[in-house]
Amino acid sequence: MAAGGSCPGCGSAALVEDAHYAQQQLVCASCGCVLAEGLLTTTYAEEEHLREVAYSQSTGQKEQLSRCLQRGIRRVQDLCKVLQLPTVFEETAVSYFQRAVQHPSFHLVSLEKKELLGGCCVFVTCRQHSWPLTMGTICSLLYAKQELFASVYLSLQKELELSVPALSLADLVKTHLNSFRLFQHAADVPAPFVEDKEKMVTRTMQIVELASETWLVTGRHPVPIVTAAAFLSWQSLQPAARLTCTFARFCKVAGVDLPPPAHLRLKELLEILLRMASQLAWLRVFKMDKKTVVKHIGDLLQHRIFLLKNAFCLEDEEERCATALGEHSPVSPPAQEEGCPAEGKRQREGGPGPLLPPCLTNPRKRLRTAAPSASDLAITGDEPISDSEIEQYLRGPEEIRAFRQAKAWP
């Protein structure tokens, strides 16, 4: 609002504040010229107590939809509000839901599945906009079983032919760490446990990137990896005070769940870090173990590309060098001329082995070998059947009698 001043039309100083319908205006009393208009919309502070009314609620649009569809749409909208998603997501999710419910394969499913369908639509929308939402979160919000959610999600993806991009780990790290209660001083958080958020996020991202380069992420659930990486980064930022804290205690203090696979991921990460530490010149003299390597995570992450190359046989030439026993081959990295072992299992001190997924380095079951015998190959399916062969599958009459008496068959 222009304070004071004179009217540009007539020069009069008689300015009056008036309201034209709902709009505030600064008007010249003598000539009626409008000097300034108020905003048509209210400010954020004024809007706090107002509720915006959606178009669908003020018009009769809702009455055209069936009650089930209305309920489903309301559920989808509530889910979006709970997750604090932008409005665009809500519209997209509702449109997917409407499309899905009209589809013949979802039209007649149970109410439980229709509710899960709403959750799946929200989930798909978030993934398409790179919003890191995990299935676990949606399932816990809907109180749904993960298997049922998985089947509904996969059939939705198939029927509506939606292309759902992969979950971005970087975004997941940021969102997951937001839920940790370690970044502010609180009554139940001891002082040495509080950490700076930016540093922890950066270091956790680096550890997660390291995990994805070393086959620890492919095929695994992402949340335990992020939790384990967060624990390692938190410990490494102040090792003196935090090395004695266990993983379980860390999760309890941070206020997050400890998923069961996280312990295994932690173990695998520490193994990779130990292998890398064995290649770092100034750490070779020390005897590293799982506790002490945490102190040097900063250095290891800084030089991780070089250390990974040296710690594992990553290049093709080095693999061929490993298989050709004792042969010299033109290998580029000068740091390792000797000590390429033949298999990953026989790992000598500091000798590089192949970088394999953990299930290949510790195989639980023996890998099947194809060995069809000659007699199997000769089967045609039309051979004559001998009576003696069939007799073994039938009970004799005495057996049947005895069985009848014993069982007292009705």
Binding site: L355, I379, L394, R395
Partner: protein
């Protein structure tokens, strides 16, 4: 290394499922009483009969439909199915062995390299589906062959298809794509 067809991959068939009809009503109680190696599931109305020589488990319904699982080749499946029909004949039923059909073949194949699954999914967008939160493998569907492949990061591939030829073609088709995204 080039993705040429000279690479010999061992495709190991682990299971062949087949069905056939006996064209007569079967009394399940009689089969359960007089047959050896049988399990009678009265609540679902079927009898499970296991053969030893071809290691096969047959599910027998009273309508005369029989499903056999556990064979390691199509010929073995027919071999076992005929033996089963003969056993039912010996039990006194007027069995006619008809409508024999192999419905599903499950095979396993090992690639000599590891596979980067996220890269593979990105390159094969509509056919490949990868949800690490649900299953560790990429699910790749070939509509023309009606085959489904599950591709693991270790290079192991599980193929299911309607017959052995479809399974072999599926492995042949997937090899170049998988080779692109190898480690």
């Amino acid at each position: 290394m080039d993705a040429d067809s000279d690479v010999a991959l061992d495709i190991l068939i682990t299971n062949v499922v087949c069905v056939f009809r006996t064209r007569c009503h079967l009394n399940l109680r009689k089969i359960a009483l007089e047959g050896a190696n049988v399990i009678y599931k009265r609540d679902v109305g079927k009898v499970l009969m296991k053969l030893r020589k071809p290691r096969i488990t047959a599910t027998i319904w009273s309508s005369g439909r029989v499903m056999c699982t556990g064979a390691t080749s199509e010929e073995e499946a027919k071999f076992g199915a005929r033996r089963l029909a003969r056993s039912l004949q010996k039990l006194g039923f007027q069995v006619i062995f008809t409508d024999f059909k192999v419905v599903n073949v499950l095979a396993v194949c090992n690639m000599p390299f590891e596979i980067r699954l996220p890269e593979f999914t990105k390159n094969n967008r509509p056919h490949a589906s990868y949800e690490p939160e649900l299953h560790p493998a990429v699910c790749y569907r070939i509509k023309t062959l009606r085959a489904t492949l599950q591709i693991f990061s270790t290079g192991s591939i599980t193929v299911t298809g309607p017959n052995v030829k479809a399974v072999a073609s599926a492995v042949e088709q997937i090899y170049p794509f998988v080779f692109e995204s190898r480690k």
